[in-house]
């Protein structure tokens, strides 16, 4: 498997993104192709899971848009992500927050993790 790892390492460029985990509220700014042109677009929501290993690692962001749940999977190493902002740290007890899909309104809200000095 070393050759596979080598190919992956040659392909990706490490970017300095802040660390975040399931439950955190993040804003992802990424390039989309629209009408043959590239433009940045932001996607803001809660991270509900991390998946995969190494170069093919992905995370899923969920948001409620006009009352409809929208999820988007981002590979962390894709060259299309420009910026990741961590807006809130969430207080959750599991790594996969699938239970949020069944909840709406205030119940679907993740408590914020507060740190005091």
């Amino acid at each position: 498997m070393d050759a596979v790892k080598f190919v992956q390492e040659q392909n990706i460029t490490k970017k300095d993104f802040p660390e975040f985990q399931a439950g955190d509220n993040v804003e992802i700014v990424y390039n989309i192709v629209e009408g043959g042109k590239e433009r940045p677009q932001a996607f803001r929501g809660d991270v509900i899971k991390w998946s995969g290993e190494g170069a093919t690692k992905t995370f899923t962001v969920r948001k409620i848009s006009h009352g409809v749940g929208v999820e988007r999977i981002f590979p962390i190493n894709t060259p299309n992500i420009i910026e990741i902002k961590v807006l809130k740290r969430g207080k959750v007890r599991r790594s996969k927050l699938y239970y949020l899909r069944a909840l709406v309104g205030k119940r679907a809200k993740i408590k914020e993790k507060r740190t005091y000095k």
Binding site: M1, A3, V4, F6, V7, Q8, Q10, N11, I12, N31, A55, T56, P75, N77, T78, P79, N80
Partner: protein, 206 residues
């Protein structure tokens, strides 16, 4: 026809220039050794024979040991002939990826597909199956159906597609693009899947 021998290492995905995620296969290709040069005058056709992958001398028969010794090479596990190899090639020459391929080339890849054992007609020949679970069907959803007419011809015609051993055949996949070549590491990356299990021999033809 140019070509090189290699070992399938595994699959992964990489990003191309436009940022698209492309599935690809990693192949450890070469170095190969020319173990025989056939010419029009001596053999009736032009070809070269490539050897790939070392094997122990004690596991090689005496006649083969002599064959590899002629090319000043250690015994090779796999030996494959390529017809009309372009360029002047000498016995004992080493062939690397760079000598044969460039990034962006279109290649054919030959391998031995994974053995799947005794399989029914749906997997083996792509039959559609019965399609209905109700309306009188009882445990025959994946059955082949009729094998032909009755009293005439009173036999099943030859070549009727039926269940049987599947996989383990020589398969050639055509028109795969070479995405990357890491010459120093003898690594070749082609777009898409390649026949065979990890570690199996693949022949890359151009």
């Amino acid at each position: 026809m140019n070509g090189i021998l290699g070992r399938k290492v595994g699959m992964t995905s990489i990003y191309d220039e436009s940022g698209k995620n492309v599935a690809c296969t990693v192949i450890e290709a070469g170095p190969c050794v020319i173990t025989q040069v056939k010419t029009q005058s001596s053999d009736g056709y032009n070809a070269i024979q490539l050897g790939f992958g070392d094997k122990k001398e004690k596991n090689t028969t005496k006649p083969l040991q002599g064959h590899f010794a002629k090319a000043n090479s250690v015994p090779k596990r796999h030996v494959v002939e390529f017809r009309d190899f372009s360029g002047e090639k000498e016995l004992g020459d080493e062939i690397l990826i760079e000598d044969v391929l460039l990034e962006g080339d279109i290649v054919n890849v030959v391998g031995t597909s994974k053995g799947k054992g005794f399989q029914g007609v749906v997997k083996r020949h792509g039959f559609a199956g019965v399609g209905d679970a109700t309306h009188g069907q009882h445990n025959r959803q994946r059955a082949p159906g009729s094998l032909g007419a009755s009293s005439y011809p009173s036999k099943v015609i030859k070549g009727m597609r039926m269940a049987g051993r599947t996989g383990g055949d020589r398969v050639k996949l055509k028109n795969l693009r070479v995405l990357k070549i890491h010459a120093e590491q003898n690594i070749l990356v082609v777009k898409g899947a390649v026949p065979g299990h990890k570690g199996s021999l693949v022949i890359i033809e151009k």
